[in-house]
Symmetry: D2
Amino acid sequence: MIFASDNWAGVHPAIAANLSEHSGGFSVAYSEGALDNAVYDRFSELFEREVAVFFVATGTAANTLALSAYNKPGGIAFTHREAHLVADECGAFGYISGGSRLHGVDGALGKMDLAALEQALARFTPDSVHGGRAMAVSLTQSTEIGTLYSLEEIAAIAALAKRHGLPLHMDGARFANALAALDVSPADMTWKRGVDAISFGGTKNGCWCAEAVVMFDLERAKELAFMRMRAGQLFSKSRFVAAQFEAYLRDGLWLRTARHSNAMAVALAGAMEKSGAARLAWRPQANEVFAIMKKADAERLRTAGAAFHQWPAPHGFTGAVAPDEALFRFVTSFATTAGDVERLGALLG
Amino acid sequence: MIFASDNWAGVHPAIAANLSEHSGGFSVAYSEGALDNAVYDRFSELFEREVAVFFVATGTAANTLALSAYNKPGGIAFTHREAHLVADECGAFGYISGGSRLHGVDGALGKMDLAALEQALARFTPDSVHGGRAMAVSLTQSTEIGTLYSLEEIAAIAALAKRHGLPLHMDGARFANALAALDVSPADMTWKRGVDAISFGGTKNGCWCAEAVVMFDLERAKELAFMRMRAGQLFSKSRFVAAQFEAYLRDGLWLRTARHSNAMAVALAGAMEKSGAARLAWRPQANEVFAIMKKADAERLRTAGAAFHQWPAPHGFTGAVAPDEALFRFVTSFATTAGDVERLGALLG
Amino acid sequence: MIFASDNWAGVHPAIAANLSEHSGGFSVAYSEGALDNAVYDRFSELFEREVAVFFVATGTAANTLALSAYNKPGGIAFTHREAHLVADECGAFGYISGGSRLHGVDGALGKMDLAALEQALARFTPDSVHGGRAMAVSLTQSTEIGTLYSLEEIAAIAALAKRHGLPLHMDGARFANALAALDVSPADMTWKRGVDAISFGGTKNGCWCAEAVVMFDLERAKELAFMRMRAGQLFSKSRFVAAQFEAYLRDGLWLRTARHSNAMAVALAGAMEKSGAARLAWRPQANEVFAIMKKADAERLRTAGAAFHQWPAPHGFTGAVAPDEALFRFVTSFATTAGDVERLGALLG
Amino acid sequence: MIFASDNWAGVHPAIAANLSEHSGGFSVAYSEGALDNAVYDRFSELFEREVAVFFVATGTAANTLALSAYNKPGGIAFTHREAHLVADECGAFGYISGGSRLHGVDGALGKMDLAALEQALARFTPDSVHGGRAMAVSLTQSTEIGTLYSLEEIAAIAALAKRHGLPLHMDGARFANALAALDVSPADMTWKRGVDAISFGGTKNGCWCAEAVVMFDLERAKELAFMRMRAGQLFSKSRFVAAQFEAYLRDGLWLRTARHSNAMAVALAGAMEKSGAARLAWRPQANEVFAIMKKADAERLRTAGAAFHQWPAPHGFTGAVAPDEALFRFVTSFATTAGDVERLGALLG
């Protein structure tokens, strides 16, 4: 009953098998081999236009390098105040960008409020050297708390960004979960709505280590090749990432695993509601369930072998939490089983 | 007949198998799982003392983060002028260290000359704010051109570094090749000679992606955990690196693959000498053979399917190269076969 | 009637005279001349203990270098959300510190609220590599909106910082104005309350360019010499800064000019209240007056030759501002005359 | 008899007087005042085309910011191996540029050898992410050892740089000395020969603190405004720098002081040659004299009150230096008097 994070899971058998399959032979190194190129083409096919793809080691690398492609002296990237970039990357953005900074935007349910973003952008004048300059907007899809931006919300944020001459980046650590939940195409959820660059994550959804920056501006992408190398993020045997993505994107595996995770979250939410011992903090839209429980009950679950994290209340959360209660996060993954969910439900009940 | 680089090879079957074996189940993420810890212990056992181990994505990351642990404002790290850090990492050291720099030291056969290093160090006064300050010395073992520092040479460089209050870092991208060639223990080649930090590479010797910083100063190592995370180098599913190292270090696999690579280099050198069409630029000591050939012969080999690189003459090289000749590098790996070597020899002859 | 900023004023005649007096002859360069050393001694005398003094070019340099002396990978410095460091330095802190970041703390009247600071600090765990680490606390005295921390408030913030193992930095761009207003000694307002490092500004109070970092930890200060040089902040003819500080600190000139500025602010506040056309947004405690006026009145003043800035409402400001009104900032300086204040009052009235 | 450096001198009386003259009144701050603008116009007039001018605090700031305007990830700036940028700025270039680096080029007499530069540039392929990328070429005029690039030499370096798509920067810490010695116009020595950006120094030639970046590409210059602010190099009371430059550039003062310095160097060289106790290491072309003397004689001069530095032999220096001799540097300035020179000559003789 591991619900601590989707990155506690292992690797999907089909991906493991493909890695083994590609383990022999020789290949050009440093992202320029035949398998790398085939996977780049697969990404272009997937996004219905030519894209530039850069494999990197981690989501933090993807986020910070993607945004650095739009870097400016005195630059400020705008993102939700609880975004992974802000809260969980040890200040990597400032470091990798050479000193630019993040401006946290308010918004309920883990999503930037459009008016709050507009107000935040309005504080900075492009020509003033004192306050710093807006350089990009970033949103996480699905969000860090398991909610979703609708296509309309993405389009509205992109339009606002464009009015300020800014690119829109999508932290897609859980891109597949969002895509599966919205049941739209990759193009629909990204460039057709105004997204310029994506941190395309495969690790949380069944890969071992498969993260990529995907960019639609091919000219600007050229600089990223140097930024990636300079940051120590260019794998020599890059085909091992390519092999993971090849299997991941083949025959819709990635969407099947994402749909499974999402379904497990729905099932878990249902079990919780049914139990009466936990109530949902908000409705899960992807593969994360946030629930309020008695701390004693949480302890009991842990003793029985369940793993999950207590979580700080997000901005705008107005739910009542009694002194003997707390907010907890449960993350499902491709490896979560209906049995896990049932066992947890039974323990709760 | 792939001799382009040892990182064009794939993964050793035993390592691939161990990755698959560990693909299921769940594990604590971010370098703190049971398998990670077991592998850290294995490293300590290997080095005959407690070490701190940090898995990272690339050799460039290992080199630049290891040195950054000893960073100073105005810092200067001394290394051979043709070291990988200087020549092949896109300036990553300056970037990752936040602006410190490398000072290239002369020396024949890819090795820092002790007197040249002493002279270079003497140029910088620790207390002067103008010239900058020595912060570390780094040597590559085996070197970028397939030669070796003897234990005595390592000890002499370490002693000189210590006299200047400086740590000694070893770029061990081909650590195993050096160890196998010298037939000594990891402790013998490192801390017993005064080495303080190692970039411990497994990728070139049969892993997919297994690089680690190994440090002997446990106190100083604590900061590296933050530096690694900030640099986007902390894998979430770090156990996939651990699984590679586990197999790599089990039952001496790493030394067997290294010995094989080294033996293939000796065989290749022999085949070249016998052929008369190529002459060795210098005697190979690890898994790289540098030879002078007619460009026409090189072209002929390539047409027949051989892959290898032309190479600039290293510092201090005094061999004669005719206008219709050039210097070429051939790298052997765990995956090189005696048949590959024979075929190349036959083509040459 | 220039109330735009105290840095629109020129130089006090006594300081200009001293600069001219020292213009001849020769001196050791780069901060090590006789006059430099005499002024360092003067600072030690002033602070009643030995201090380390570093002249730099700007307040931004002083703030960012002083804090960088306490830098950590993943570092976070806590300061008021409207502090100069956050709002007016083009992200210099992130850049100069090599990627560390600021965390804005709430608080009314331009001052960090102690509880808000405590809550902010509590969000970061020293040992977690994900969230980043607290590295310092910084307060501005007098604040960016002309208010003051009492000695007790400084001591309370310092005590909280110390409980978290953090140094306390004081942005003293208007150090003298605060000192004069509180009528205490430099030691009283700083190290006796727990302050570790100061950006000691002279420019806004009558110098041309006289800013210094003052540190009480002499050991840690040694690194700052390298950081300053590396940042291009080490003047060759540093005695020109020393000459300014010599005159500035001689016979209490700096306190007289500060008292004058402060008195002019009081007079201006009085004139405003008397006029009925402007009401004070809050009571001025140093040399800045914030008032709410009709925009039409502001326009009228400007047409008559007055210079001052419209200002965004600070955090926690609850005053009523009608649609045809706005908040305006008026800054007084050593060069402000009673006549200026009277003229403005007359125009208002 | 102070020949230690031209920055040991004070300020020229006319410049001191102009500073005092502008000490009163009020001015718009942060480089946008009337006097600032007038001086910018003066620079444009001087260079016979519109230029962008950025006042900064030090030559190190000017050099590193000017080059940073052309920064690239993995960037390499090429300059003489003994250039101030390399040898005397505490690694500021790597820091200010966010991790780019310098490549030292060989050349006798302190000047890059054209063939050596060509060879150095040839080592780096623009499209390879491994080796790093050329981003700029920088030359010092007059050089760090008192020699001059002829206009033809500047043009040849610029042409080579342009063939590689690179800008040419001129470190003009002693710009006036070079100009006076060559007796050409500022335009002749810079953009008419292909120079793109200049570190325009006034400090060493009679100002207190007057350094500026001058750029001919006005579009690119816009970014420098943000880079300067972010680096803490934007003076609030910038008119104090403007006032110095106003006097410096008025009625040819700067060329008169430079001619004087240069003439004093010639006189000093003559006195040395006449004395027989010192021989010139090479012919001085600007305001620095390098001579070989017995160490005992040097000691004798110092005892008699002379200040000057021993100097390491520059690259390519082939002069004979006996064991009891050393190389010494003597720098003249606007403040050097014929009497100083005579006294030194008399002591020598």
